[in-house]
Subunit: 124 residues, 3 copies
């Protein structure tokens, strides 16, 4: 279920972005228990990505914005573990520095997903 | 109001994606009662779209991710009808197979929309 | 924190879109009190942007969709001030007409943000 959207500058080539996608997915499976095949990502480096230094972080053009949409229900502790693991794996697997990893989560509900066939699978 | 974002691989040409946009819009008007002119869509095939098989669906590169942002208030029954109709019309109008249609909904509130002129129309 | 996504047609060149990004950011700092360096934007003109006339607004291909993700907590009055100021500054700084400015807001929670280093800064 998690629908992951990653935006980056063309600084990163496609192989790096795919490795980042793998890193995010591994972190989601490890820390939140998502199944391995529960993978839905859109990765784009075609837009203008702009960033400041809030809250005191020296980002550079290696910055990546990771937006995750998933069902409500994860605890703060689980989210903290997720962020830490994404940052760790983004560095290890894609060479992206932890200072450059911005993550935001948006939550919805079981009725808000259809994985195919026109069915709301979580309501079945 | 519904703001619809569609992401696809370059597998689909622009005419197919426009037909898919029409299909989604028709489904929204039919099942949720949105006005015909209440159309706001961003359709992109420029990103890297990655997918797994969860929950047991054999997708292929014809996959499309449809993300809908709308006001809270629709029932589960309405959402189920929406998903079924989108899948049906995506096949009929754009030739996209139901197994390849992923849909997610994110809800917000009346104060969260301005349709133009700097006004929060739902609060007027 | 606000993560701003702007979608437009290629009608607008990059300089205009950057000026629009500046306008949105100025409005966010002025009306909602965000720090100057709290800037995170993705601006894209690569997709197919489609629009109707709801609710009686004569848009044209100069239309821009501005999607803002931020923490819950702003009042309706603050959001109204935000929309008015965005429309005003989009015209003044980027030459984009108020009728062409669509804005939607999605809210999340303090636990839903990591600004870098793998840390959930709002939970510290």
């Amino acid at each position: 279920m998690p629908l992951v959207r990653i935006d980056a500058l063309p600084t990163h080539d496609d192989a790096t972005l795919a490795a980042l996608g793998d890193a995010v997915h591994q972190a989601l499976t490890e820390t939140l228990g998502f199944p391995e095949d529960d993978l839905f990502q859109v990765i784009s480096s075609g837009g203008l990505v702009r960033y400041g230094t809030y809250p005191g972080i020296a980002r550079d053009d290696g910055v990546v914005f990771i937006s995750i949409t998933m069902r409500v229900g994860r605890t703060c502790a689980q989210k903290k573990a997720l962020y830490a693991r994404i940052a760790e794996l983004a560095a290890a697997r894609a060479g992206i520095e932890p200072r450059n990893v911005l993550i935001s989560v948006t939550e919805n509900h079981p009725a808000d997903w259809s994985f195919g066939e026109g069915v709301a699978q979580y309501l079945e």
